[in-house]
Amino acid sequence: METRIKPKSLLSPLAKQLTSRLPGRGLLLAGLAIVLLFIGMAVFAPWISPYDPTKMVDKPFLPPSLKHLMGTNRIGQDVFSRIVWGSRIVLYVVFSATLLSMAIGIPLGLLSGYRGGKIDRVLSMFMDSMYSFPALILAIAIAAVLGPSPMNTAIAIAFVYIPTYFRMIRGQTLSIKNQLFIDAAHALGIPDKRIMLRHILPNLAHTILVVFSLSVADAILTEAGLSFLGLSVTPPTPDWGYDLRVGQPFFLNGQWWLVFFPGLSVMLLAMGFALIGEALSERLSLAQSI
């Protein structure tokens, strides 16, 4: 037990960022503000949203007004309510996707990097093949096969992000593996499983946090892309990408609110996570390795 390196809290770099005056703190705060805004919107959707997002509540195509902050869409649904509820779907899909790919990518990366040998070669080859291929195309194929539902979209997205985590974790594991304290742990006869979980994994926490925020930002864009192509959720479920798609023809007629707000939401939310990731990665000087 003496040799055990004290696992750092996952949140420690975040906490440090907030309290220390390092460059990038502004980015971090801005990012956090945006993300918290959307999370708040998702959590308190029933109270914030003035109307039922799935029902026809007024005449179609009403421009933004006090009654309908962002206007109404082609079938008389309130755009603002759909944005508010849409944040739930996006966050749900994106978080489940990211957690899912972490749950698979991280253990495999650890195992592959730590054990090496045949397992490592096979896994690396597999992951590299997937990684080299345009993620969106693969996600499209998977989403099309699974059919439209939030969970299925999450699975499709998770699938394409597994290699990102795998590669990152494997690389880091390889470099930590040869450090002295691991050798020491070996010498003490601590089982491999324990070394991986207790000694290596905690040291990867920072990396994971950075990759997490950046891949969430990316996943938001992928989710929106999938629903833009009609492969994500089934209406009347509110979803930004889908609303953007069906709004396109009206957009060119001048009904700009149908496209403008959903697209802006996608961008802002992705930006929130990207800002956090950027700030953290700068702090951990990981910028080049993503």
């Binding site: 980015l27 080859m125 597999f126 590299d128 093949s129 997937m130 080299s132 291929f133 345009p134 993620a135 969106l136 195309i137 693969l138 499209i140 194929a141 998977i142 099309a144 096969v145 059919g147 930002a217 864009l221 929106a224 892309g225 833009f228 192509l229 953007l244 798609r245 396109q248 957009f251 060119l252 700009w256 496209v259 959903p262 697209g263 802006l264 996608v266 961008m267 992705a270 930006m271 990207a274 800002l275 950027e278 910028a287 080049q288």
Partner: protein, 340 residues
């Protein structure tokens, strides 16, 4: 491995393409067959066709064979350069014909998006590095994040609306004015019109390329901005640069030197970006009605056209793999520190 030289490295990297493609092909093959429905059903749809004829059509398409046979049949054909024929409307067109017209479209779009993104990235990154620590630097930094998180269809539509509908100066879809006939040699319209000396075609195809190219370019430029800036900052703060400065070597020369050095990691990123670019091309193609590979794959998924999708993916995978191989080799040549 490290001592066997560049040639060996290239061979090994080239051989790695084979398993890469096999893995992707297998994933796609399985995905396509999991769900009920097949290309013949997609064509027949709700049409009132007798069951015997349905069987006959499925037989013609080879869909009555065991899956394992279908798997190896197709693989065998691809090895002989035969990507099969389309299975859904239109039936029986060689998939390679589609790839031959669709791929150059995607490539052309990608090249332009790529060029735009590198130029914008270099310029913004350089400015940021030279004005390090200033408001401009911060502005460029924010630009790189905003650009990265722009949602392509949204950004594309806004450009379409502004330049296509309101100002009416640029076309919003397609590759070339339909009334201009252009003899295609490479399938890259800009290149073809230069080769054939067709000025109207050249102007038209460039005009058609600007908006989609810019959409893709701006979205991807963010990554370069950041990378160029950081690298230039590193180089500019090195000791020998300082000594150059002290010796009074002109500023532009130093900048040029720094830029050149900052370029090496940019090349690596270019290799990685290329795959992302091809993916982003799907959304750009959809938004701008660009008849490329992305829209082709999406169209064919609706019909569950096995051969087309498999063929397109294999081709894509091969192309991406070759590009990343080339990038790796260039990288290895440029940077003597790299051990391969």
């Amino acid at each position: 491995m490290a001592k066997k030289g560049l040639g060996y490295y290239i061979v090994v990297r080239a051989l790695m393409i084979i398993p890469t493609i096999l893995i992707l092909y297998t994933i796609v093959f399985i995905l396509l067959r999991i769900l009920p429905g097949n290309p013949i059903l997609a064509v027949v749809g709700t049409r009132n066709i007798p069951p015997e004829q349905l069987k006959h059509l499925e037989h013609l398409a080879g869909l009555d064979k065991p899956l394992i046979i279908q798997y190896f049949d197709y693989l065998w054909n691809v090895l002989h350069g035969n990507f099969g024929v389309t299975l859904a409307s239109p039936m029986g067109v060689p998939v390679i014909n589609y790839i031959a017209t669709r791929f150059p479209a995607t490539l052309e779009l990608t090249i332009w998006g790529f060029t735009f993104s590198v130029i914008i990235g270099l310029v913004t990154g350089m400015i940021a590095a030279l004005k390090r620590g200033s408001k401009i630097d911060t502005g460029m930094r924010i630009y790189s994040i905003v650009a990265y998180t722009l949602f392509i269809p949204w950004f594309g539509m806004i450009l379409q609306y502004v330049f296509g509908v309101i100002l009416g100066v640029l076309p919003t879809g397609g590759r070339i004015d339909p009334r201009i006939s252009l003899q295609t040699i490479t399938g890259l319209y800009v290149l073809d019109s230069i080769l054939t000396g067709n000025i109207p075609a050249l102007i038209s195809s460039i005009k058609h390329l600007i908006l989609p190219g810019l959409t893709l370019g701006i979205v991807l430029s963010g990554a370069y901005t950041r990378l160029v800036r950081n690298n230039m900052v590193d180089v500019l703060s090195m000791d020998f640069i300082r000594s150059y400065k002290a010796r009074g070597i002109p500023r532009y020369k130093i900048t040029w030197y720094a830029l050149k050095n900052a370029f090496i990691p940019v090349i690596t990123l270019m290799g990685l970006q290329f795959a992302i670019l091809l993916g982003g091309a799907i959304l750009t193609e959809t938004t701008f009605s660009w008849p490329g590979m992305g829209t082709f794959i999406v169209d064919r998924i609706e019909y569950r056209d096995y051969n087309s999708i498999q063929g397109a993916i294999i081709f894509f995978a091969f192309f991406v793999a070759v590009i990343s191989l080339i990038v790796d080799v260039i990288y290895a040549l440029l940077d003597p520190r790299i051990k391969y």
